[in-house]
């Protein structure tokens, strides 16, 4: 038997069988860690750059002459007035007077209908695919299509919405015209695959044993789904809904296709009103040559982000509360988002 020797790197005896190469492995580990950290930092850097640029634009408006010194409290007051004006005023011709009241109302209306339309349909479809559909072939065909839909550019959904909802395939009786409902339906289609896939993942993460337990007691599929699977999948469904809604809230292109107005004097009053949305108004403001408008656009972006943050926060709160109460210990999805 040969002397195993002594490994200076680790302080342990050298193994005659295993070539440990601890230093080399440790070095690779460090390199990979730095690469991952770098990727994260790169992402954070660009996000921060965008945020800082927008904030800068709002805090130092383009027409602000730096010479006019104002105190910090005065500046804060000005900012508060600025956002108050953006939230309370509708469109107009004076860039120091216009606001996003109509667009914001339109976005909230859209979100309401999108949640109402997309979530039940997506959850229903996911439940069908995961729990009812026994035919593997049909399932894989549908699955492939859904995965593809998730990657379709949003402008394509806009065209689809234009043809189906706004024009009704050319039949005037089916046509909704350029109304809020047409926009909501289009956005619903857009986020349907997102919620659907998230719900499927959540259902798949539930252990088979829970299904067996319920069915062995003489439960029907529906009783199993209603009382056990949907509650256990709820965090995943909410995560998917947050993702979907976050996407819907910022979409401009498909709404332009289905008749969102560039500028509208009154907020929508029902699903068949004309409408516009916050990102649409931001888009048109940003296109204006007058630099005062770009401040207004930046302010709009901040309002959009704040709205997004509020929605995400409340959804995550609901999800965590729900998860603490219902989810089985072993079936928790990763705590992302």
């Amino acid at each position: 038997m040969n002397n195993p020797g002594f490994d200076m790197a680790t302080g342990f005896e050298k193994s005659p069988v295993y070539s440990l190469r601890r230093r080399k492995r440790e070095r690779r580990n460090r390199i990979f860690r730095i690469v991952c950290l770098g990727s994260t930092m790169l992402g954070v850097f660009f996000l921060l750059t965008v945020m800082v640029a927008v904030l800068f634009r709002v805090i130092f408006p383009a027409n602000d002459t730096r010479e006019t010194m104002v105190s910090a409290s005065q500046r804060l007051q000005q900012l508060a007035d600025f956002f108050g004006r953006l939230l309370n005023n509708g469109p107009g011709i004076d860039p120091t007077e216009v606001g996003y009241k109509v667009g914001l109302a339109g976005t909230l209306w859209l979100l309401f209908f999108v949640v109402l339309l997309a979530v039940p349909v997506a959850v229903g479809a996911a439940v069908f695919l995961e729990e009812y559909c026994n035919d593997g072939k049909i399932r894989s065909i549908i699955q492939t299509n859904i995965s593809n839909l998730a990657g379709v550019p949003s402008i394509v959904y806009g065209l689809l919405g234009l043809a189906i909802f706004q024009r009704g395939f050319g039949y005037s009786r089916l046509a909704l015209g350029p109304c809020l409902l047409a926009g909501a339906l289009t956005l619903s289609l857009l986020i349907l695959p997102v919620i659907l896939i998230a719900t499927q993942e959540a259902l798949r993460a539930i252990p088979k044993s829970m299904r067996y337990a319920a069915l062995a007691l003489g439960a029907t599929r529906w009783q199993l789904i209603r009382d056990h699977l949907l509650p256990a999948a709820m965090p995943g469904i909410l995560t998917g809904s947050i993702l979907g809604i976050s996407r819907a809230i910022g979409e401009t292109a498909p709404l332009l296709m289905v008749g969102a107005a560039a500028s509208l004097l009154k907020p929508p009053r029902g699903p068949f009103s004309r409408y516009t949305a916050l990102p649409v108004e931001i888009y048109f403001n940003a296109k204006e040559p007058d630099p005062a408008y770009s401040t207004v656009a930046a302010g709009g972006i901040l309002i959009l982000l704040a709205l997004l943050l509020c929605l995400n926060f409340s959804a995550i709160t609901i999800r965590n509360r729900h998860r603490a109460k219902h989810s089985p210990k072993q079936a928790r999805p990763a705590n992302n988002i």
Binding site: Y212, A213, G218, A219, D227, P328, K329
Partner: protein
């Protein structure tokens, strides 16, 4: 005790099961008597659990399963595609290898099955009775609203038994109910089975031959039939008799080899 004196509640008639094209069980003929504990023993992969899952058609949930032959519960043909599987599974309950309580309260774990089956009586009374029958009441009576999946493994398994009792099945199928439990919890479950025997018929799959010897009245030993199906793993019933006879005087050489630990 003789096999013929007892009322037979469950009977299979040339039952065969295959997964996709792989034959798993061949020509199973077994009669399970009422108010007895029948143990299914045999080496891994010989189809004990498959046979058990045929009795309440849980095999329907496994993709690629084909079952031929007949199973009679009293006079009902269990495999008839027209029978109501939901109703069958209420009458033939099942306890699984790994305790699988619902992530709900202890009370809800027991009450849920009864409620979905339209139980009309007093739910609190039913829950207490079932938990008492499952020898769990004294341990959990003060914490019925606590989550069932936070109990210890043995308590969880007894909760699963209580849950099964709440739908008042005629037969309880147990698929290695003690394999995830320590000896003390195993003892509790075995004692419980002995008590349940007066009202229920129990079929238990076990890898533990001592357990089969301790608790069961009848034992079926399943083996791979390597003579008729060389090179394949097809389960058949090597021997089915009273537990006493099977363990003291087995008539099949394969059974003898298995129970004495020479194969399997």
């Amino acid at each position: 005790m003789s096999l013929t004196d007892l009322t037979q509640i469950l009977r299979t008639d040339s039952l065969s099961v295959s997964y996709f094209d792989q034959l798993a069980l061949h020509n199973i003929n077994i009669s399970i008597p009422q108010n007895c504990i029948t143990a299914l023993i045999g080496p891994s992969g010989c189809g004990k659990s498959t046979l058990l899952r045929c009795f309440n058609r849980m095999n329907d949930l496994v993709p690629g399963v084909r079952v031929s032959g007949q199973i009679f519960l009293n006079e009902t043909d269990v495999l008839d595609p027209r029978i109501d599987v939901v109703q069958l599974r209420r009458r033939v309950g099942m306890v699984f290898q790994k305790p699988n309580p619902f992530p709900k309260s202890i009370f809800q774990n027991v009450a849920w099955g009864a409620r979905i089956n339209g139980y009309q009586g007093d739910m609190a009374e039913l829950v207490e009775r079932c938990l008492r029958q499952a020898a769990l009441w004294d341990e959990v009576k003060d914490k019925l609203s606590r989550p069932g999946d936070q109990l210890s493994g043995g308590q969880q398994q007894r909760l699963c038994i209580a849950r099964t009792l709440a739908v008042e099945p005629e037969i309880i199928l147990m698929d290695e109910p003690c394999s995830a439990l320590d000896p003390i919890a195993t003892g509790a479950v075995e004692e419980l089975m002995e008590q349940l025997k007066t009202n229920y018929t129990i079929v238990i799959v076990t890898h533990n031959m001592q357990q089969a010897k301790r608790v069961s009245d009848l034992t079926a030993c399943l083996m791979h039939d390597t003579q008729s199906f060389p090179g394949r793993r097809v389960g058949v019933i090597a021997e089915f008799s009273t537990t006493d006879k099977l363990f003291t005087n087995p008539s099949d050489p394969r059974t003898e080899a298995y129970i004495t630990g020479r194969i399997g």
